[in-house]
Symmetry: D2
Subunit: 338 residues, 4 copies
Amino acid sequence: MIIILKPNPAPKQLESLKEWIKKMGLDIHVSAGAHSTILGLVGDTSVVDIDLISAMEIVEKVQRIQEPYKAANRKFHPNDTIIQFGNVKIGGGHFAMIAGPCSVESRAQIMEVAEKVQQAGAGALRGGAFKPRTSPYAFQGLEADGIRLLLDAKKQTGLPIVTEIMDLSQLHLFDEVDVIQVGARNMQNFLLLKELGKTKKPILLKRGFSNTIQEFLMSAEYIMSGGNPNVILCERGIRTIETATRNTLDLSAIPVVKELSHLPIIVDPSHATGHAKYVKPMSLAAVVSGADGLMIEVHNDPPCALCDGQQSITPEAFAQLAKGVEIMRESMAKEQAI
Amino acid sequence: MIIILKPNPAPKQLESLKEWIKKMGLDIHVSAGAHSTILGLVGDTSVVDIDLISAMEIVEKVQRIQEPYKAANRKFHPNDTIIQFGNVKIGGGHFAMIAGPCSVESRAQIMEVAEKVQQAGAGALRGGAFKPRTSPYAFQGLEADGIRLLLDAKKQTGLPIVTEIMDLSQLHLFDEVDVIQVGARNMQNFLLLKELGKTKKPILLKRGFSNTIQEFLMSAEYIMSGGNPNVILCERGIRTIETATRNTLDLSAIPVVKELSHLPIIVDPSHATGHAKYVKPMSLAAVVSGADGLMIEVHNDPPCALCDGQQSITPEAFAQLAKGVEIMRESMAKEQAI
Amino acid sequence: MIIILKPNPAPKQLESLKEWIKKMGLDIHVSAGAHSTILGLVGDTSVVDIDLISAMEIVEKVQRIQEPYKAANRKFHPNDTIIQFGNVKIGGGHFAMIAGPCSVESRAQIMEVAEKVQQAGAGALRGGAFKPRTSPYAFQGLEADGIRLLLDAKKQTGLPIVTEIMDLSQLHLFDEVDVIQVGARNMQNFLLLKELGKTKKPILLKRGFSNTIQEFLMSAEYIMSGGNPNVILCERGIRTIETATRNTLDLSAIPVVKELSHLPIIVDPSHATGHAKYVKPMSLAAVVSGADGLMIEVHNDPPCALCDGQQSITPEAFAQLAKGVEIMRESMAKEQAI
Amino acid sequence: MIIILKPNPAPKQLESLKEWIKKMGLDIHVSAGAHSTILGLVGDTSVVDIDLISAMEIVEKVQRIQEPYKAANRKFHPNDTIIQFGNVKIGGGHFAMIAGPCSVESRAQIMEVAEKVQQAGAGALRGGAFKPRTSPYAFQGLEADGIRLLLDAKKQTGLPIVTEIMDLSQLHLFDEVDVIQVGARNMQNFLLLKELGKTKKPILLKRGFSNTIQEFLMSAEYIMSGGNPNVILCERGIRTIETATRNTLDLSAIPVVKELSHLPIIVDPSHATGHAKYVKPMSLAAVVSGADGLMIEVHNDPPCALCDGQQSITPEAFAQLAKGVEIMRESMAKEQAI
């Protein structure tokens, strides 16, 4: 971290700044130029509150050189993290598909979808039990019953299940859930992240719809700093000026995250595009950009889905997509062998 | 609501769509053109799930004519809502200033700030007790102790207090708090909004940093549809391509909200701009754009604030600002009398 | 186009609106409901100025059903457009790579790059002659000399050349240029687009950095409505809240454009990501998302490039990338044959 | 400017970097820490191409301390610039209103509007002669005839005129025009800016709809570096996620620009909000935020305006607005005297 001071800093303030820095266990390298003085901070600067320093009267600017996250940082953990649940592995060359309906609607629905996506090659089943929506008048999910139906589908098919927690008060319902999903709107619900950091369950953390990659990794850091290293990141599009798609899928985030972090990252093209017709091309592109997995909305009767039917594909379309994914996975292997 | 059908809709699907609409208590006005058929829905369409209809195979497009919110809608409640807490009224021509530090840091700090902002004309005291920050390594607030210190400051000064809830599990701590603040990151935490809808306390709802005005009003609707009409909206800037300010303060939102809703709306120029030096001009501009109040960060020693010191002003600067606000309030009265 | 009128429109104004619509050669289908009257416009509504109608006192809302572009619209031209220059074809299953330096810097540089990218499989050579930059103090390009050097490289290698026009006054210099590029900042320079519509040369039109896909296609329409059907679209990223990449590459735009328009679309991952290290993964992902070509910045000595060196790759890296592209092209063929 | 080097930079590359910097007339202050070496550049760094340095292999990061603009920078020109045209002064405490229709449509129209806005207190007349629109099928302006009509209105009323140039080829038509406007879409048309830098006419430079304040000031720098110091900046809203207004008016930009630059800045609330009903509150707020003037669209018959009728106000509404502006100007004087 580099602190650029204003010209002629008050000596007393400068001394108290230096002392405060040293108390955090950091070394200081002072470089006094003709026009400005620069302090170089050496040590673990991830604990330094950059806002606090920026607010000081004698400080002109502060510039991080190291990233503000440590546990999630590839520099301190060069090898890819591999996360396992059920028979599924994600990361470090392992790829998986998580598929299922936006919402669990009935036993018949979830059983049918679970069996069909399993046959088509999905490694895990997704389904929403809690679905608070933008409108208080829209369908809000089956709640605890939804989780029970998911667990029944797990029993029948053996597929591990992935479902979203909306609030800490629901945590006791997730005991048998394999992967707890944190939705985009909760990406910066830091209390929730902290509590999930105390479990050992894999957490599927979705990127907030207007959050940067650095903020995304800071949220992963919250979970990891609590003691839970099992974080799967999920890119699901950001809000931009484009309206032809529901969000703008940021596939560049895949190689960026791969460079900055050792955590696996998967892609949700269903929420990102918001239209069933764009799910396949974006799934294939996600594979090729280096994603460790896909999360796809599949519904047995999309036009009648109680939530997000527009973006759901049929089990048949999913089976087609899965074949395409396989082809792309092979071509990736070929490409890397050049 | 207008539903535009694709050419030659399947008669069976059309019938089932019509029946479903009628079951919601709506009338349908069919208009069959040469190229397309249009269904006009008459009645209370705020309960209709637009996504569900959009997903149907026979539907080309759906267009709302009425807004999707009802309780918050000025059409159904033409008079301004006035919200009272302590001796303060906000809305319907009443204006108030809420001031105080970002975080409660100590008894001495909150007492000093409370007394000084009261002398300068603030009607309520703000202060954060729970401060989960972007970094897990930064100061996180005094929590329950912070609320106790705020209540002590209330006892001493008589100022009602405004403080933020981060999670439902904290609700029992807010019994004596006058106004519960919902932060920008929680604007779409619908479970929290629902629970707050069961209380009768005034809720200060901040706009999410990447949410539209319509989404903002839908979140107010969540609280109101639960039975709590006491919602104060707060514009605090949105995330844009500009980086010179922390966020981009959207003052146009004031007249837009005033037109669409009867709820009062105040402005937080401290979080919006992120710099103490821009707080006064934006406060004055907020008054003139029609805001019902201001929320200002005031700290007795901004460079040493444990959080957001960069955007805090001193009690002296706040006293100056308050005089400017008074002048602008008078000029607004004069302008409206032309 | 659907015009929704306010309740009880003034009869005289309604009549004059109807007459005005009929004068444009459109039919009107009136549907008078209990609460609102709707006018359905039948015919070629692409000529209707939606802003003009929206401004009328009796109008509540106007909603387009048809897109506002005609020549670029796939509905009126279902087959893919194929554009040829030199030996290169783009569109309708034909794929091409355009490669070369951001700026032409010297004869030696452009000759070396041209030969190397040709050997690696590029179908055309790109290079900037006019480079007005954000700062008036930065390198501004070799101008007319730059075009002469590109033409020399064309003579030597046979590669057709693609270079950017900045202003109408330069048009006479582009006589022997194969493809005229319109940069992102000029996407809505409508006078320039109109003049280019009078030529028959292929125009490579880059998406503006904050323009929607619909605006992108409207700009193509400007060129086409002047009589020049040879437009190649180029996605190059949009400005978003993410800063880890220079722009956010919007690969979903590929299938969206393919659905809405018959024009070919290529991808520029160099400007989109701004970093050499992300160029290959995004190139491969672009191929798989359905792009008709790639435009890649290649420089013989990237760290010494006078412009945008950070995002340029070496000829050797380009040769590697080209092999990867070939593999992805094969896998796409395989995938489509499932 | 601070250059942070990667660990263990190649000595030869480091030497050549240092030599290159010195050739630009800058001094270097090297600070070799344990983990990284930092070069501090002392002198006029506005001429340094930051991209070029960033691309070098041995460089980790580059951070500007000084702004990249010089002529527009308040640091080097502390006093407010005052720009005069006709009897109007803008800047340094002088305030003016520029009013008129979006497009010149006919002699009768421009004469009527000119007289009425003059009576109401406008200091200058605006009107568009060239109006390339998003759609090639919409009204495109009266072109040279439009300028002639504006000059006739000037002759009759004495009001100086402000009108937009779209392309360099039109420059000869602007000889008698008082202020040449550069529209938002041309803010980074650097060739046009350079040519306007050779004239001495006041240039009204509008902010691009997705450009930062720094980019805005760099575009002013282009004009000024050519020898023309007469630049009036104009904030007109930026494109954001909000859709209730046409753009999001960024009033914080006023105090930010005032701090960074000595140039006057005015506000265009008509284009920013896109709705006549929001023009007055945003005009008053602009005055109070410190703007040096306003540019307002006024039309004698807004519903029949051939362009942007939705955002135009009547001459009567403008007269009302002008009285409100006067009241706010007085209250600003009072506020500054506290």
